[in-house]
Assembly symmetry: C2
């Protein structure tokens, strides 16, 4: 038997982080590139993680009063012309449908039929503010019709030149919330509420600590009055924007004529918001928790929380081991963790035990339980926690069942704590440009720098030079008088700077 | 107070069935036309029905061993050229993406950027056999990799000139199953199993009786060896194809090079299947059960199974009525029906009681419960069953809670029985062409005609003349010797003929 390699993933994070990421995606069977440039195939294990994200987020959206609906995939080109900044932002790289039929090209192939050219080209939605806004304009007449609280689960397309699975792909899956309100205050409260929901989800379900903050003017959603985001720190000390919530003011309402009669019978423009998270979250999940042996999944998102591996050498042993495993599976699956029954699989495939074990390690399953004839004789189960180094430990069978929920909760918490510790370690306050330049020097590890700043061309130029970005102004930033490290202007709050995905 | 109209929907089914359908969709707030020709907006009540369909079908797919995954929205044009019949069937009317960027057109508008023309046009998927098959070709090497049992929930686009909401739209939502097998028998068994799943879902969940059968050669999915379908009869006596399951033989495997090494080490082509149902099911649901007062929903698909309407005239009465309703809601919602907790809403909107009541009638809610001070004094609840004529009856409160699950089960069964009775009434055996011509004469009601037939140009011509179609050969058709009513040729089994959607 060949010696097991020191780590299951080559290269390691330290050796080559971007390549390590691709290899984790591959080894965990999450996704692969497709035959369409920039589009990925999400494989069953990756899609099951997305389904777990969807189910839990969807429940949070519904608990805050939102309903799901579905709007067209296509947007007439003229719709993009209506909101000036929005065009700038989204008209650039998108998929344009110009024909509605193919015909033989006379050389044995096909071509778009010239006779079936569309009068007005259609855009495959890069985001749906314009088409949903046009619909809302029909739905809203009176203040009695408000608020409108809608969410859509959908695919969107933004043409990308450089793609990376889950993090940046031409087509991706997401949800987009779109709401309409009678007052500015209510719309602002909605914007902040959904940011709160995203933060709770990221920390409570993904075990990924995030900073809630407001984007600077230059980083706003095209057409928004204010954009809020949650920002997470990956293990390579680069930041990832994991979700955004936009206060659109009356900009879109004016472009799309979303008007209503208020209580006094006066016609006025409504206030709108939009907010979204995407399959990018899966990328964030991978880069927050995974290690040099592959994916590490927080239990709340693991498609299988426990995998049982029966170990036997012949039919006789199998006849002894399998019923024991089946019974254990049923008992484990009747336990509750995080308001759901525990998700358990038995892997009885005809593969070498070591290969099987490594497959599930690379796939990030929180608990692997191995059971052979000797374990059964001792009435013990060999339990390996994915988040802890080492081979695992033998635990009395009854204890395994009775403590499985606690054990999963412990793993969930341990992953969060580890990520928080890593972020704390990579967070600094910086008060001089010199220090800032050192912190983000080309070979320096970097991280999150909290600095006083005033947005200015000088700052933008410096950030560009350092390949650094301003992530947000944290909502919980203390008011303190300071000076912009770039220009020396007076500043009242620190922003967070980092290299970013 | 104006007198309530005799029926909530105008026109009635008898007066103008197609227009009645559109009005039910509108009155129940299910969907509306969008600004994109042929595409609809699915509104929250309609989408919630689709979510209920999805959740229950998805559980059935998973119980039969399938996993979900996601494949690209776009298909390279060249992929459609590979399977000859498939091109014929799907290359015709589809959305063609030719550019990946917009630019200013110099006149204040936008245009597809000539510099961003795609080398190869992309098709928005009308169905995904080709792109998924190309992926499967990479996944399959050995018999050990088989079977592959995948399902995808997705949007698809087929350019349609004449559209009708849910029944025929340019974009629609669906699921498409795609499987690969090592043997013909296994692939055939899968094809039949999924037809069985669809039939169970249609009858058991939608309360819509269906005929399971095989399509004739002319009605097969382009590229399939055999196509099976479930066929339902609508109230206007027209048939609706509600789901299809295709045995693709080795046709697609050969076009896409899905090959594997069998147990003996020989390389051979795999056997594939595909199967799908779509938002068209919602159209079938509407036309099976609804009446001249609007939508009627089987409890298993109703977004709300019970709606409680508090009745009060002032704040004092409200203070009495609301807590009573809240408690009732909680008790009802803790009951189980069909393995799920009962879905209950209270409608406390500031609207006239009659208007509210009619809204929920038109939306098809199975049970409406009205509660005012007098009902509370009697400790009774006024219960109206949507599927039964009349105002309803006062029922002791405790009985209401204890029997709600039974009552829902009764409604579910009653709707199914009613639909079966209607179908039986509209079903005949016909043994002569003359009788057939009378049955499908222009002003005759029509229905389902079971006839001996042999597929032939003579038959096709006659069917075209009568605007009639052959739906399928039922799987449970008895073998009996007869003669084709069109040509007199010998026939062993009857097919089902009907006008169809
Ligand atoms: Zn045309
Ligand atoms: Zn380009």
């Amino acid at each position: 038997m060949p010696k097991a390699p020191k780590t299951a993933i080559t290269p390691t994070r330290a050796e080559n982080y971007p390549e390590w990421y691709q290899q984790v995606v591959k080894a965990a069977d999450l996704a692969e590139n497709s035959d369409v440039r920039g589009c990925m195939v999400i494989k069953p294990w990756g899609y099951a993680i997305w389904e777990n994200i969807q189910r839990q987020l969807d429940a949070m959206f519904k608990a805050t009063g939102h309903e799901n609906a579905y709007f067209p995939l296509f947007i007439p080109m003229s719709f993009l012309e209506k909101e000036a900044e929005h065009v700038e932002g989204f008209a650039k790289e998108c998929a344009v449908v110009t024909h509605h039929r193919l015909e033989p090209d006379g050389q044995g192939g096909l071509q778009p039929a010239p006779s079936a050219k569309l009068e007005e080209p259609l855009i495959v939605r890069p985001t749906s503010e314009t088409i949903i806004g046009a619909t809302f304009a029909r739905w809203v007449q009176s203040y009695r019709d408000l608020p409108i609280l809608i969410n859509q689960w959908a695919n969107v397309v933004r043409w990308e030149l450089r793609t990376r699975m889950f993090l940046r792909t031409t087509e991706f899956l997401w949800q987009e919330g779109h709401t309409v309100h009678a007052s500015e205050d209510e719309a602002l409260a909605e914007t902040r509420q959904m940011l709160e929901v995203y933060a709770e989800f990221a920390e409570g379900v993904m075990a990924m600590p995030v900073i809630k903050g407001e984007k600077t003017a230059g980083e706003r959603f095209p057409g928004a009055v204010a954009t809020y985001s949650i920002e997470a720190l990956m293990q390579d000390r680069k930041a990832l924007q994991a979700g955004t919530s936009h206060f659109l003011g009356q900009n879109f309402a004016k472009a799309q004529e979303i008007k209503f009669q208020n209580v006094d019978g006066e016609l006025q423009f409504a206030w709108t918001t939009s907010w979204g998270v995407s399959t990018r979250l899966v990328g964030g999940l991978i880069m927050t928790h995974s290690d040099d042996d592959g994916l590490v999944l927080p239990p709340k998102l693991a498609p299988a929380q426990v995998v049982i591996l029966p170990v036997y050498r012949n039919d006789e042993e199998r006849a002894n081991v399998m019923p024991y495993c089946e019974t254990l599976k049923e008992e484990l699956a009747s336990q509750q963790y995080a308001f759901e029954t525990v998700r358990v699989r038995i892997d009885d495939r005809d593969l070498r035990g070591g290969d099987k074990r490594w497959q599930w390690i690379k796939r990030g399953v929180p608990l692997i339980m191995e059971i052979g004839p000797r374990d059964i004789a001792d009435d013990k189960v060999f339990v390996k926690r994915r988040d802890i180094e080492g081979k695992g430990e033998a635990i009395p069978r009854d204890e395994v069942v009775g403590t499985v929920a606690n054990r999963l909760a412990e793993i969930q918490q341990a992953l969060f704590d580890r990520a928080v510790a890593l972020r704390n370690e990579a967070t600094v306050e910086i008060d001089s440009l010199e220090e800032f330049e050192e912190y983000f020097a080309e070979r320096a590890p970097g991280g999150l720098a909290h600095c006083h700043f005033v947005d200015s061309p000088t700052m933008e130029a410096k950030l560009k030079e350092l390949k650094c970005t301003v992530r947000c102004v944290p909502l919980d930033a203390q008011t303190e008088s300071g000076k912009c490290i770039f220009t020396g202007e007076a500043s009242e709050r620190r922003g967070v700077f980092a290299r970013a995905y």
